[in-house]
């Protein structure tokens, strides 16, 4: 069990490491196809959105993935596992530049770059998207959960399909 960590600013080394671990654990859960664990990185009423940069900049509300609760995320997981038809592929998330921005009222604000590549069995690895996470973490009981994650992606033209959360 992890100890209670203080996430107030300036962040301690311990808090920074916990934040980095969170990003790595999140990516690993999805990269390894453990989709059912994905909603558990969020609070019950968390917002999760994957948004093309142009919509973000034009203040237009459409996202390619839009969840307003952990339950809605579970519905997407069910779709990935039970209803969607997609070619088998491996997706991998490269997260870098993790940058804690501020902390207030029990929330830690942070951002990071993300790159997603995918590999289908008969094609070379290709780039799916590049973007950034704008994150708001709830820091209760000394641990982090995402209360909001916006993934704003630069790569407006996506190749074929985005079959997993980012």
């Amino acid at each position: 069990m992890k100890q209670r960590i203080d996430f107030s600013f300036p962040l301690s080394v311990e808090a920074r490491l916990a934040l980095h671990d969170f990003y790595a654990d999140y990516a690993a859960a999805l990269d390894e196809g453990r989709y059912r664990e994905w909603p558990e990185f969020f609070t019950e009423n968390a917002i999760y959105r994957v948004v093309p940069r142009e919509n973000h900049e034009l203040d237009l509300p459409i996202a390619i993935i839009h969840c307003e609760s952990r339950a809605m995320m579970r519905d997407r997981v069910s779709a990935i596992e039970d209803t969607a038809m997609a070619r088998p592929r491996w997706l991998r998330r490269f997260i870098s530049g993790i940058r804690p921005l501020s902390a207030s009222d029990g929330y830690l604000h942070s951002q990071a770059n993300v790159m997603l590549v995918e590999t289908l069995h008969d094609t070379m690895t290709r780039h799916v998207l590049a973007g950034r996470y704008l994150d708001r973490f709830a820091c209760s009981e000394g641990r982090l959960l995402l209360a909001e994650r916006l993934c704003i992606y630069d790569s407006l033209l996506l190749p074929d399909s985005l079959v997993e959360p980012v």
Partner: protein, 414 residues
């Protein structure tokens, strides 16, 4: 005939069986593709270009495409809408760099040739030379020069463009599809809710055909079937215009599948599936009449999506025989309540590059291309629902694909 042949391939000839077979080479042959660009995308047909709501003010512009060709759609000071090639008359530069914006005029960055909001050339630096030397010849005329103009037609907020001024009046062009078009575009001002874009590795026609094929929805789209959004046991219809080029799939949302339907769909139907957050499908009726879904295909590049409360224009931009861009413009009405807007945002989860339903299509389209390209001598069987090209009141049919190819063969002279 010679012009549609590829090197070292025999003449491409449509099968004698008519429109119940579609030869696989139509999806990958480079000569066919070039002919499509010329005859279909640059022929006397109306391509969807933009929504008026994207360019509400004088000087507003948006970049879009007709066929592969980049164009600008611009509103001038008098409120008129112009469309012209993003292609400088001087050296061919695609001079406009911004995807959208507001401008008083357009200036090519290379040599500063200037265009007004209708695309007419208005200025050339050093036209008279410098200190009497250089410049254009004395008899050089700039009148009549400019970016190549396109004909424009607007109906209830939707802007169409055509490179060929011989395109018929838009209402005649839409024909009997007009009632479905006007059902969504009823004159209420629209509000753009956002854009999503994807490049799908298949021939553009496969996307168009996908929306003319209600048969697949009852077997491929487990999500739609399981939640009763579009399924063969529901009241439905397939209608075409007089030419067969446009079509509409019309359906009514239903509850549990009946026993016979459930048996046919048993491989895929998840009758016990429930949403954990039902707000995802918090659907309200918003149009008169019983239909809850009307998916229109408007020749040659537009799909108008009305699935429950999610509305979108899907614009097809061909990118060679083996790929196309699908540009989605999600919209609502300016008068929508915040609740309705939120509903549209939630239901958009079904559509787009990561859509709970549409991913099935983008994936199966890419897989189709792999097979069709590798086996160009094959013939697709398009015989569901009979061999005719008439309107029908059920979904187990491929009639709209047959009607599409009837028109296609006429235009392409195959």
């Amino acid at each position: 005939m010679a012009s549609n042949q590829s090197i070292d391939t025999p003449a491409l000839r449509w099968p004698d069986s008519g429109y119940i077979r579609v030869p696989a080479w139509v999806y990958s042959d480079p000569g066919i593709y070039q002919r499509e660009l010329a005859r279909i995308f640059e022929g006397p047909h109306w391509s969807y270009a933009a929504l008026e709501a994207e360019i509400p003010n004088a000087g507003d512009f948006v970049q879009t495409s007709v066929g592969e060709k980049p164009i600008l759609v611009v509103r001038d000071e008098q409120g008129r809408i112009h469309a012209f090639a993003n292609n400088c008359a001087h050296r061919g530069v695609a001079f406009c760099r911004q995807p959208r914006g507001n401008a008083q005029s357009f200036t090519c960055p290379y040599h500063q040739w200037n265009y007004d909001l209708a695309g007419r050339l208005t200025g050339i630096p050093f036209r008279r030379g410098y200190k009497g030397r250089g410049g254009m010849s004395k008899d050089f005329q700039i009148d009549g020069l400019g970016a190549r103009p396109l004909a424009v037609a607007v109906r209830n907020g939707v802007v169409f463009a055509s490179f060929d001024p011989a395109a018929p009046p838009l209402d005649a062009y839409l024909g009997s599809m007009l009632r479905y078009f006007d059902r969504v575009f009823d004159g209420r001002p629209l509000r753009v809710l956002g854009y999503t874009r994807q490049r799908i590795g298949s021939n553009w026609k496969l996307m168009f055909e996908n929306l003319k094929d209600p048969y697949h929805a009852s077997v491929l789209h487990v999500f739609l079937m399981s939640f009763g959004l579009f399924r063969m046991d529901q009241e439905s219809a397939v209608e075409m215009d007089e030419t067969g080029r446009h079509s509409a799939l019309i359906s009514r949302r239903g509850g549990q599948a009946d026993a016979e339907a459930a048996r046919e769909m048993k491989n895929n139907l998840r009758a016990d599936m429930r949403l954990q957050d039902e707000r995802l499908l918090d659907i309200v009726r918003e149009y008169p009449g019983p239909a809850t879904v009307v998916m229109q295909t408007i020749w040659p590049n537009l799909i108008v999506q009305q699935q429950s409360n999610t509305l979108a224009m899907r614009q097809i931009v061909p990118r060679g025989p083996d790929a196309f861009d699908l540009n989605w413009t999600f919209f609502g009405y300016a008068t929508d309540t915040p609740d309705m807007t939120q509903r549209r945002i939630r239901q958009a989860n079904l559509m787009g590059p990561a859509g709970l339903v549409s991913v099935d299509d983008s994936e199966v389209l890419a897989m189709s291309q792999t097979g069709l390209k590798a086996y160009p001598d094959g013939n697709c069987i398009v015989e569901m629902g009979g061999r005719d090209v008439n309107d029908i009141d059920h979904m187990i049919t491929e009639v709209a694909i047959r009607a599409f190819y009837k028109h296609y063969v006429e235009i392409m002279e195959l």
